[in-house]
């Protein structure tokens, strides 16, 4: 299996979109019962951006976007590439922070934070050292399992649906929904990593777009289940609403710890997601500085992101609040620079002599 198949690309994109959204649904306290609309709006926006990125990637056959940036504009391309590396470093750092917090609060309260974070980062580093092939194989195994688990969760919770939680359904709060879209935009936009690391000959136009659409529909499914079962007033006050959602599942009177089963499936999913971020950083560094081996950079960058995860944020509340401001930075990387690439990044008309 030397060639990457479309299915693998779709699953890779879904793995990069889904997990953290499941963990914390950011816009629910603002968009209330229309939270699902915010994800749909963000998806529509990024369909356009992704199409532009794919278009500019396809102009360079056999190259991904990092490579084409460096080969076309050696200096400015490297600058933009380094900015993207910093962008993904922030994403990785934030994700490590979220996961360490989650593990300490919910799963292992007595374990010191250094142990949890080192274990997480070690796993991620070892996944990245296996290269893109490992990432793709892992996402091909875990992706369908988690998607299946989501549907099973939906079926099990079906009897607890309260349709009145969705009311008023047609009265849409436009400012709330647009603010929610502002909040979730950065997380949906992470899908732009697909053309950055996968060579343009391996996918057709529609594969990354499918991945965005399927990922968004799965998120919408989770959000709708959450609102129908738990309800907005409760869900917006919970730190990990989806975790509480799984705890609602109860079969007969004695099978009620499905949360452990779900975490068992979902935690590897998260680790793959973080490994993709780390892979993007290492791969980008390898392309920017040709003599560097991406494999050897995995451990240093992993440790750097570990120490940054403690330093970047004052506390969890501040991290959640920063989402409002982060959207601006994400806007630059996920919309403005892709538009710039679409306009400017074209192969040379006349090939260089020598």
């Amino acid at each position: 299996m030397n060639k990457i198949t479309p299915r693998q690309i779709i699953l890779l994109g879904i793995v990069y979109m889904l997990p953290f959204v499941i963990n914390g649904i950011r816009s629910i306290s603002i968009a209330k019962q229309h939270t699902y609309v915010t994800y749909l709006m963000a998806a529509i926006l990024f369909m356009g951006v992704l199409w532009m990125l794919l278009r500019s990637a396809k102009r360079f056959p056999d190259q991904d976007l990092f490579q084409s940036l460096v080969s076309r504009f050696p200096v400015i391309g490297r600058g933009v590439g380094f900015l993207y590396i910093l962008f993904f470093l922030y994403i990785l750092t934030r994700d490590i922070r979220i996961m360490v917090d989650y593990t300490r609060v919910v799963l292992l309260p007595n374990t010191p934070f250094i142990v949890t974070s080192l274990l997480i980062i070690a796993t991620v580093v070892f996944i990245v050292r296996g290269g893109l092939r490992t990432l793709i194989s892992l996402s091909e195994i875990m992706g369908p399992i988690v998607i299946l688990a989501l549907f099973i969760m939906l079926i099990m919770l079906f009897k607890d649906f309260h349709l009145e939680n969705m009311m008023p359904f047609f009265h849409m709060d436009i400012p709330g929904v647009s603010e929610g879209t502002w909040l979730v935009m950065s997380s949906s936009g992470q899908i732009i990593m697909l053309p950055l690391i996968i060579s343009s000959k391996d996918y057709r136009y529609r594969d990354p777009l499918y991945s965005l659409v399927i990922g968004t529909l799965l998120i919408v499914l989770v959000v709708l289940t959450l609102i129908l079962v738990i309800g907005v007033p409760l869900a917006e006050r919970l730190m990990y609403p989806s975790y509480e959602l799984v705890r609602e599942i109860r079969i007969a009177d004695f099978l009620d710890r499905f949360d452990l089963l779900f975490v068992l499936l979902w935690y590897p999913f998260i680790l793959i997601n973080m490994a993709i971020s780390l892979y993007v950083i290492c791969y980008g560094l390898k392309i920017m500085v040709p003599s560097v081996s991406g494999k050897m950079m995995a451990a240093p960058i992993g440790l750097l992101s570990l120490s940054c995860s403690a330093w970047f944020f004052r506390d969890t509340i501040q991290m959640l609040d920063f989402n409002h401001q982060w959207a601006w930075i994400a806007l630059v990387f996920e919309i403005i620079i892709p538009i710039g690439m679409f306009v400017l990044l074209r192969p040379r008309k006349t090939p260089l002599k020598n």
Partner: protein, 72 residues
Amino acid sequence: MISLSLIFASLIVLILLLDWKVLRTLPPSNRWIACSLFVLSLGIFMYNLKFDRNISPTVWVGQIIKKWVPFD
């Protein structure tokens, strides 16, 4: 703080020991970048543990961007 930093430093030494065989064969820039990243991460780790009221970059950046955020 000392013990945590020691754990971190010993981890770095462990990684270097395990990887040294490969790192030696690669161009020297690899060693320089890897070592400087290790030192940087150890420095950030110790800085973060040492001071109580340290400056978090996101707080700082957030205050700058706050003026232009359309929703508050």
